[in-house]
């Protein structure tokens, strides 16, 4: 036991002096919060654009339809006079859309014939879509409104012409995009843990072999298992730090940005929730260290280890992806899958849903058992003579 601690202390000291490795790990810890913060701000700004900004609309022939103009102005449209050549202006992208009211509009309108207005638009310009849709909706609304009035005046129920009424339920709002994004938050946390330990584990295993210090080390009178445990424990503080930094980062992002306003759902990342997420993630630190240790011990060099470990960090993202697209109920079988159970639990914490204690316990125990199994395999690996003398 004492010797495990000696190995752990040495590896921690050695790793702390390796600034480049652990700062890379820390960068990965900040990756999730920075990315999610940025995406939320983007989504937030587009939500605000759509709702708050009045529509600037260039109109040619305003004098031909004073009532229509008044209707538009009442609906938050700022009417501006159009340039001499509206089509050129739209083609060049100076204006998103131009409304042309021809001189015969008034006459057609008064005599009850269909009065025509023209919209000049470029349907291939994505950024203009919001403006185009809005003005189209307003014009249709005006037409329906007056049509209804005319029917009522003639004593006909307007419902007669409303044969089918369509109500749109658009789920592809910016909100739903953001909700999708939020589903990835648990994975970002796990990603940070895996990447936080990767450089440390690589250096203490593949690095030890690469710099030819493994052979002299193993000649010391210490059971092989002690080396595995000592090196594993040395990785823990670094992944703890990664986990902590990621959570603090997410805490800041979700408490500084008005996320509720953007998303329309409550995300409860207060200090208590963050602390609970921290606790629920602790077994993953063991798992991430053990599995990467096993793989890195096979690698002949740090370079080789560096080609394997990123894949391992991606594995827990697969159930996370599924979670984003197909919401999964926190059933027992999900808790038995290490990292998947935790992702579901984190999601529940975030959404302030009640957590079942037994789920948390099962997920923790399952993860710890798998970690112990992997560590046992790693110890067996270190007991083989090939650990030092591998044929290249």
């Amino acid at each position: 036991m004492n010797k495990i601690w000696i190995i752990t202390k040495k590896e921690i000291l050695d790793s702390i002096r390796d600034y480049r490795s652990w700062t890379t790990g820390l960068f990965w810890a900040l990756f999730g919060p920075i990315m999610m913060g940025g995406m939320l701000m983007l989504i937030g700004s587009s939500v605000r654009d759509e709702i708050e900004q009045p529509l600037h609309l260039s109109v040619q022939g305003q004098e031909n339809a004073p009532n229509l103009i008044r209707f538009l102005e009442q609906h938050d449209v700022i009417v501006e006079s159009a340039p001499a050549d509206p089509e050129a202006a739209v083609k060049q992208g100076d204006l998103n859309v131009v409304l042309i009211i021809p001189p015969e509009y008034g006459e057609d309108f008064s005599s009850g014939r269909t009065a025509t207005v023209k919209l000049v638009l470029d349907s291939t310009r994505q950024p203009a879509r919001v403006d185009i849709n809005r003005i189209q909706n307003l014009l249709e609304g005006y037409s329906t409104y007056l049509g209804t009035l005319r029917l009522v005046v003639r004593g006909v129920s307007p419902q007669l012409i409303d044969v089918v009424s369509v109500e749109e339920v658009d789920v592809a709002t910016p909100q739903s995009q953001a909700t999708l994004l939020i589903s990835f938050l648990p994975y970002f946390i796990i990603f940070a843990i895996f990447n936080g330990v990767a450089p440390i584990i690589t250096d203490t295993t593949a690095g030890e072999r690469e710099r030819q210090s493994l052979e002299p080390l193993l000649i010391n009178p210490v059971p092989r298992g002690h080396f595995v445990w000592g090196k594993l424990l040395a990785a823990f503080p670094f992944s703890l730090a990664s986990l902590g930094i990621t959570l603090v980062g997410f805490g800041i992002v979700f408490n500084v940005l008005p996320v509720e306003e953007y998303l329309g759902i409550r995300i409860g990342l207060n200090i208590l929730t963050l602390l609970l997420i921290f606790l629920i993630c602790l077994p993953i630190i063991f798992l991430a260290s053990a599995i990467q240790m096993l793989v890195a011990s096979f690698a002949r060099s740090t370079k080789e280890a560096g080609t394997y470990l990123p894949f391992i960090a991606l594995v827990p993202s697969l159930p996370g992806l599924a979670l984003a697209f197909f919401p999964v109920k926190p059933a027992l079988w999900t808790m038995l899958i290490p990292t998947f159970g935790q992702q579901i639990l984190i999601n529940q914490f975030m959404r302030l849903e009640p957590i079942s204690i037994s789920n948390a316990v099962i997920s923790t125990v399952a993860t710890l058992l798998l970690s112990l199994l992997i560590t046992w395999v790693a110890v067996r690996l270190y007991q083989r003579e090939q650990i030092v003398f591998r044929k290249a």
């Binding site: 000291l13 710099r211 493994l214 002299p216 009178p221 210490v222 003579e385 003398f389 044929k391």
Partner: protein
């Protein structure tokens, strides 16, 4: 005291060591001499417990290498072919780590480290990180950490490999001093002159088997030659591996 009895080891079809027997006495320098690939390092690796013999046995101070590897490891100091240090630790920290792993600590360990630093003239590099050390400096640190627990038996795999003339002389001097303290020294070399200059007892290994063994004078008498070089060639039956 190292006793090797009928030791064998194969890697797949390659029979690296076959039925090797010899013993190395305390207070003597024993040399395993042979061309590259003769099985010297494999023999040594079985003695320092990193390889398990397929057959035969080896005992160090009475402890069997397969049955009680930890005891064996406590009784040997090894300079292996791989001499990697921890570049971000200082000389002192490198030595201390191995001392702690041997169960030493506190004042006794620090005194031992100081003594080794003095003995190997390492004062100028004692508190520097070992990153960027020269071959000679790295070797000194590797020796110091191998001897930190003051082992009775010292195993050296090609100890002067890659050293310049001055360092080689210093190294040989150091090995003799260790012998004079009564330790059992076992070293490997493919250099005839080195073994002739250092060793009290020579085991000539060729193709995984012992071709001849004895003190230098015994070897001359057995082969009927008047110098060791000829005796060596006579024993292994070719000029392969001679410097």
């Amino acid at each position: 005291m190292i006793e090797v009895q009928d030791l064998s080891k194969s890697f797949g079809k390659v029979k690296a060591v076959q039925h090797v027997s010899f013993s190395a006495a305390d207070g003597q320098i024993t040399g395993l001499l042979g061309p590259n690939g003769a099985g010297k390092s494999t023999t040594l690796r079985m003695l320092y417990t990193l390889l398990k013999p397929d057959g035969g046995s080896a005992r160090i101070d009475g402890f069997d290498v397969t049955e009680s590897p930890l005891e064996v490891q406590s009784h040997i100091g090894v300079l292996s072919d791989a001499q990697g240090l921890y570049p971000r630790l200082t000389t002192r920290e490198n030595i201390r780590y191995f001392g702690l792993l041997h169960g030493l600590n506190g004042e006794a360990l620090e005194r031992q480290i100081d003594q080794l630093i003095q003995m190997l003239d390492m004062q100028p590099i004692a508190d520097r990180m070992t990153e960027g050390f020269s071959t000679g400096e790295r070797l000194k640190v590797a020796i110091a950490r191998a001897l930190v627990h003051d082992p009775r038996n010292v195993l050296l795999d090609e100890p002067t490999n890659g050293l310049d003339v001055k360092s080689t002389r210093a190294m040989r001097q150091f090995i003799r001093r260790l012998r004079d303290t009564g330790k059992c020294i076992l070293l490997t070399s493919h250099i005839m002159q080195e073994v002739a200059a250092l060793c009290d007892y020579i085991v000539i290994i060729s193709g995984g088997t012992v071709a001849a063994q004895g003190s230098p004078t015994e070897l001359l008498r057995k082969t009927g030659k008047d110098n060791l070089e000829d005796a060596f060639i006579e024993a292994i039956g070719s000029e392969e591996g001679l410097q």
